[in-house]
Symmetry: C2
Subunit: 348 residues, 2 copies
Amino acid sequence: MHSVPVEPRRTRRPTMREVAAVAGVSLSTVSRVINGGAGVRDDLVERVRDAVELLGYRHNLTASTLRRADRQSASIGLIFEDVSNPFFGAVHRGVEDVARERGILTLVGSSDEEPERERELAAAFSARGVDGLIVASAVRDSSYLLRDRAAGIALVFVDRPPAFIDADAVITDNVGGARAAVAHLIAKGHHRIGFLGDRPDVFTAAERLRGYRETLAQHGLAEDLELIRHPQFRGVDAYQTTCELLHGTNPPTALFAAQNLIAIGAVRAVHALGLQHTVAMVSFDDIPLADALQPGITVIAQDPHALGRTAAEMLFARLDGDHGPTRRVVLPTELIERGSGELAPRAG
Amino acid sequence: MHSVPVEPRRTRRPTMREVAAVAGVSLSTVSRVINGGAGVRDDLVERVRDAVELLGYRHNLTASTLRRADRQSASIGLIFEDVSNPFFGAVHRGVEDVARERGILTLVGSSDEEPERERELAAAFSARGVDGLIVASAVRDSSYLLRDRAAGIALVFVDRPPAFIDADAVITDNVGGARAAVAHLIAKGHHRIGFLGDRPDVFTAAERLRGYRETLAQHGLAEDLELIRHPQFRGVDAYQTTCELLHGTNPPTALFAAQNLIAIGAVRAVHALGLQHTVAMVSFDDIPLADALQPGITVIAQDPHALGRTAAEMLFARLDGDHGPTRRVVLPTELIERGSGELAPRAG
DNA sequence: CAAGCCCTTGAGATCGTTTTCTTGAAGACG
DNA sequence: CGTCTTCAAGAAAACGATCTCAAGGGCTTG
């Protein structure tokens, strides 16, 4: 079994010219049939269709795009931080659901939060003639995309707003969500609340930190820099950082884990230390099995699928000729109480 | 703010012809410089580079691919069941890591396990001239891809092997993993083990069910069809199905949850019923927070990232001219004991 | 019956690039 | 000094499709 060698590209793909020859019509007629067949006599349409079938002709969109007046490639590019983060998986799916209805395909890449990589991806997408770009940007200055937009590429920012370029964006209410999380913990009596989040050069992290700080200030609570931590490699370091934080002198009585992967690490740490009934916790972003834990994890849920859907809808509106002012859509978060956020403070 | 209207495509993209005019050289020379500059005098190279910079020229890969002798588009297509399933997110990332080194981009789509949709995606990718296809196929008969491969598109199956077409494949040892799971439970004394998995028309589900059955038989245990369940919509129904199973007459003392999303549903159900210390459980595929639960979830872990990496490596080997016999790579699973699989049977 | 119109069809230009072919200049060599 | 080789550079064809435009046929209409 499995011993038949794979033949190298034996047959060239048939072209419209060959279809035309077989059908006994001109190249133009074949093109018309392929593009819907309007204005072609029925019997010719049939002959062309038969020839297509016979030869196994497949339309070459590369050549078509090059020549067509509208220049549309029916594909868009998505730049995420990491396609293997379930958050972006859901955003991707939201985009795909909308794109599918229009027969549009998605090119997807991970920037790993590296500006250089993000620009490379944008350039690569652009070189392939994408009609639009949906970007979760990791750069301080997104104006490098101006040239692409000037060349006719539609542009929507998702999860993080654009900087130094006026463009459409769909983001979550990060500050509001963080405020809700921290206010919730304060209402339960907590005064020392740890913050675990990405470094503040990531927009979402900065916003969530802002919400944290503002809410502390609003309630007259002093900010302790010891309690604000930024684990570098989220999965691994969040665990470690949480342990350090909880084993330090004067540890927090509650934690706000401001990102999904960091939250997973923090939850694992709290459970490993046996402190899950002692240290309160709220996470930003819902995580699988959050409700199966004891106690369940109270979360600020965002809707990544809706983020993707909305971004795609805005992108296609632009491609359909919407030249209105740029829009920024902010999607709300939802506080889901499951137990971990409702624990009262206890002396460590 | 945000009130400046977005200008419609104002500038056309500059072409090589325009670059040539500005640099005062011929089109051919510009092409040579863009493609590495071999055989062009240094001063001309510099003049062309300056013109490129000045005009903001961006290479048009669409036109380039059309004309180039090798016809490579430097992009590949990925067909998954669902890009928002973290399992496929990880496979995707594995592919991307390998593709990135070669400057190759990924087009990605979800088939939702619908054969029609899978064929549409393959056709759409093919029309866009992808160099290769990595497919987690949902169809009984994958021979529809023969035509594409004949047209020179490399082909690798991932997660599920090909049917009616001889092609490379990378899959997990589903039968072996399932055997290990069930044997583990039997060794702990369980005789009534529930099976929760996708319908057997999904290859992986059929294989895991086979492993389950064979292991029961091997240990002289009778098979009870009441214990074999196939929740239709995984997230929602797995929860419901698990509840029904555990509340039925003569319920199982252990569960084998044979897919990641089903496992999440089953774990939630077991915990909701308060049976997590009573009913043993092993899941196929590791899931986040499995180790934070009480008891931790014992899993048969597969390595989706390696699945993607390996598939990509095989694909590129073919693109590099490997015409050897087709290969089937089977990646091993790993049993990770965390507690839930080590519970002894108790009368319900 | 001729003029005018609509409708279908095909010829040829064209999209932006690569590739082949040609040209011309410079250098090597007997 | 003439011929042969080598090399850089440009002119033009080609990739596979779409689009413009002109031609031809059939029909209506005066």
